[in-house]
């Protein structure tokens, strides 16, 4: 009996659902481990349902030296660098988007080129340079480098969003006597609010999760952000309390996941790709 297109489509959908379910299960196992272990008093390395749920692990890690100080450090570091990135990117994107100049194209090409350089490779010379100019082990030095490493992509994204704001609206502000700076602040940026939010969240999320930069540029334990201090769970004592490690991982990861959900909801799917990977 020939199958009807409708029944064939249903069969296809079931097959696709089954395939996706398998992949989803495989991807979910490591995530399940961290959630279940954080609530388990006797957490080990394998995924298992705890005998009884407990918040003891969270209690144990929610202390100034384990959680609050590193998270505050992360916040200062990533918050400061994000502000710097977004401010500089917005300013730099403005002339690129609004005025025609022979310099625009070479500048944008350089930025695009820098966007995809492997930053990891730059860290050894950055370290050597920071030692010479006494920026090593300073928050401001790390913030500056963080901002510089995020800037190319941030400028690129910001420029693409800014291109979407019609110039006529701004010309009205100009005839009313506003300077370009005023029209950028009062007219252009408010109109591209979602775009600014995307650049901000993206920069913050990238830095919040970055391990290598603070690992190289900061030395004092008190200054370490969560991405580096998490290593302390694998301390010299040899034994690891996996439940507490899992609890800390959950606390440390939650802000970026929430931020992602916040922005992704508003802009749909692959927001981070806007303009960068148009095929």
């Amino acid at each position: 009996m020939p199958r009807t297109p409708a029944s064939r489509r249903t069969a296809h959908r079931l097959a696709a659902d089954a395939g996706l379910l398998v992949v989803a299960a495989a991807f979910a196992l490591p995530l399940a481990w961290v959630v279940l272990s954080s609530l388990d008093a006797h957490a080990g390395l394998e995924v298992k349902v705890p005998d009884g749920l407990t918040l003891d692990n969270f209690d144990a890690v929610l202390k100034p030296d384990i959680t609050f100080t590193p998270l505050l450090n992360s916040l200062i570091l990533c918050g400061g660098a994000t502000l710097l990135t977004v401010a500089c990117a917005a300013l730099a994107a403005y002339p690129l988007s609004r005025f025609r100049s022979r310099l625009n194209r070479p500048f944008l090409l350089t930025i695009l080129f820098a966007t995809s350089l492997p930053i990891t490779a730059v860290m050894v010379p950055v370290y050597a340079l920071f030692v010479q100019v006494n920026l090593i082990d300073t928050l401001q030095g790390t913030i500056f480098f963080f901002a510089a490493s995020q800037l190319p992509f941030a400028i690129w994204l910001m420029k693409n969003f800014m291109d979407g704001v019609p110039k006529e609206l701004e010309e009205a502000a100009w005839t009313d006597g506003a300077s370009s700076f005023q029209s950028l602040i009062r007219v252009v940026l408010p109109l591209m609010g979602p775009g600014v939010a995307v650049v901000t969240v993206f920069a913050f999320v990238m830095m919040w999760g970055n391990f290598f930069v603070p690992f190289m540029l900061l030395l004092t334990p008190d200054q370490m952000p969560a991405s580096v201090s998490i290593n302390d769970f694998f301390g010299n004592r040899g034994t690891v309390v996996y439940g507490q490690l899992a609890a800390f991982s959950v606390i440390y990861s939650t802000p970026v996941i929430l931020l992602y959900v916040l922005v992704a909801r508003r802009l749909g799917g692959g927001f981070a790709l806007g303009g960068a990977v148009k095929g």
Partner: protein, 297 residues
């Protein structure tokens, strides 16, 4: 005559300078903290700079590079970087991302949301956390072995027996979301009529994929491959957390080798030469990527 022509030009130059002024802070940051270190990198790669016990570094020409290509540990790192990149980015992230995206086109909506949510969460997680999760997954007492035991299959200490495979899988777990998003966007742009016409003409799933879908999204494939490769070339934290490059140096890719030479062995000059090679390879990929995007700017 010339004066008349020059005046407006000078005025125009001053005007474009004033207009470009807002870009100054960004340019200063980029020059001081990104271009500066890269330039400095190109300089100290040719010196014998060390971390300790040395008054002046002296210029040694191509010695660092010659030493590298005779150094078995370096060649091992190049080989492992190649394996890591091909396995995790080219084969893993790229193919799985495309497979997930095309399955999602046909799947039911709740399933799309579920899979998208899980895969993207793995991507958004901080690098170190992802490293720990997969460390737990692959360890002797970990989840993978528990499952294998349940199926009566031989278990082993994956991080010891097949470390490079384990970290490659970890990178697939962490990075596939990006390809999935790129390909979902690309597949959504293919007009429905084209695939439906092919279906009516009797082309099966695989033939439609090979003759219609892939050619239509080839530019997305190109850019995605470039970006995946660049991303993978600079992975450090994930491998560091899972294996520290070991056991021995069996998962020591170039970034970890560079770190070991520069800091654990204090040979900044040598470590930087490796970094420079990594930058050059990255630049080549970056240039190809720009060629693929050339109509955009």
């Amino acid at each position: 005559m010339t004066g008349k022509a020059a005046a407006p030009r000078r005025k125009g130059a001053r005007r474009s300078l004033v207009r470009a002024l807002p870009a100054a802070p960004a340019v200063v940051l980029l020059v001081l903290f990104l271009a500066g270190p890269i330039g400095y990198c190109a300089y100290i790669a040719f010196t014998d700079l060390q971390l300790t016990g040395q008054a002046h570094a002296s210029f040694v020409g191509f010695d660092n590079f010659r030493a590298a290509f005779k150094d078995e540990a370096f060649l091992n790192a190049v080989w492992l970087t190649l394996v890591f990149t091909v396995l995790s980015s080219l084969v893993g992230q790229n193919t799985l991302g495309l497979a997930l995206a095309s399955l999602m086109q046909r799947a039911s909506k709740p399933m799309r949301t579920l899979v998208g949510g899980i895969v993207i969460t793995a991507w958004v997680l901080p690098e170190v956390v992802a490293g720990f999760l997969l460390y737990a997954f692959f360890r002797r007492e970990g989840t993978l072995n528990a499952i294998l035991d349940g199926l009566h299959l031989p278990s082993q200490n994956w991080l010891f027996t097949l470390p490079i495979l384990a970290v490659s899988f970890a990178n697939v777990w962490r990075g596939t979301a990006f390809s999935m998003l790129v390909y979902s966007a690309a597949l959504n742009e293919i007009p429905k009529e084209i695939t439906e016409a092919a279906e009516v003409d009797g082309a099966g799933g695989w033939r439609r994929m090979w003759h219609i879908t892939l050619p239509m999204i080839r530019r997305s494939i190109g850019t995605n491959l470039m970006l995946n490769t660049l991303q993978t070339l600079s992975v450090f934290g994930l491998i560091w957390v899972m294996t520290r490059g070991g056991p021995g140096n069996r998962s020591q890719t170039l970034p970890l080798f560079m770190y070991e030479q520069a800091f654990q062995k204090s040979m900044i000059g040598y470590g930087t030469a490796v970094a420079l090679l990594l930058l050059v390879v990255g630049s080549l990929f970056s240039l190809v990527y720009m060629r693929l995007l050339r109509t955009e700017v």
